[in-house]
Amino acid sequence: MLSDLVFWGLAVVAVLSGAYVFRVDSMARATYALAVSFVAVGAALLLMRLDYVGLVTVLMMVMEMAVMAVYMVMFMGMNPALMPMSMVHGNRTAVAAAVTVFVVLGGGVLLVDWPARRGVPAPDTVAALGEALMGSKMLVMMAISPVMIATMVAGIALAAPRGRYDRFGDDLRERASDPQPGGVGR
């Protein structure tokens, strides 16, 4: 029952650090707490022999949280050490809603007569995943790729204050002019 113990440990870490996200008074710390929560869940995934996905989760989330921290400092000018904050509204409603959600979902989890397990995991889960991705669920991944493109295009279009015409002139023939040095074409 080692796995049980480990799971519960991870569970406690995940939930507590998740809750901690909204208790700390700086965004950077919140980010770290969130990352911890994700890592815990990723580890729990490993317990369920989701080796690849668990790893991906951990890696992605750590990276993402790093990005988030950088983002906050760079773009929003928030020094995590200097910016204590408590920007909360409707706290009691939110608590009540959260509790309700937990009770309802938890009650559902316990009351539902879950069906029996269908089949057993493939011996090599990663290989099975690969086969599925290249086989029956290929279309899913094919559809995700344009999503990535769309994200890049849309994200840059929204976030970047200056586009290529600002930097290279309307006919794209000028030298790049950026207020701060760096960037493509410079």
């Binding site: 569970a11 998740g18 909204f22 992605m60 608590v95 879950w114 991705l133 849309a154």
Partner: protein, 100 residues
């Protein structure tokens, strides 16, 4: 470790996420609440895979969820930046011109 146990943990994570999404004023913090909810979904999906249907589909589902989380977060940052730049604030409360 049982299905119910894992799902309960997921429910707890989801509830925390809901709290965050509802209570936070700053867009990025709301996003963190959403991330926690996705986190819960990831955990629940894993539990479904392991305890109910150890089928490759479940793993694909997990990948899609993670991918979705990633792209949503990326868009979130972009939108937050846009909001901050155009309105000088990143609080959802301050962006309430469009109503009624």
């Amino acid at each position: 470790m049982s299905l119910e146990a894992v799902l309960l943990v997921a429910a707890a994570l989801f509830a925390v996420g809901v709290y965050g999404a509802l209570s936070q004023q700053v867009v990025v913090m709301v996003m963190m609440g959403l991330e926690l909810m996705v986190n819960a979904v990831v955990l629940a999906a894993a539990a479904m895979w392991w305890f109910l249907a150890p089928d490759p589909t479940g793993q694909v589902l997990l990948l899609v969820v993670i991918a979705a989380m990633t792209v949503e977060m990326a868009m979130g940052f972009a939108v937050a930046t846009l909001l901050h730049r155009s309105r000088g604030s990143d609080m959802t409360d301050m962006a309430g011109d469009l109503a009624g």
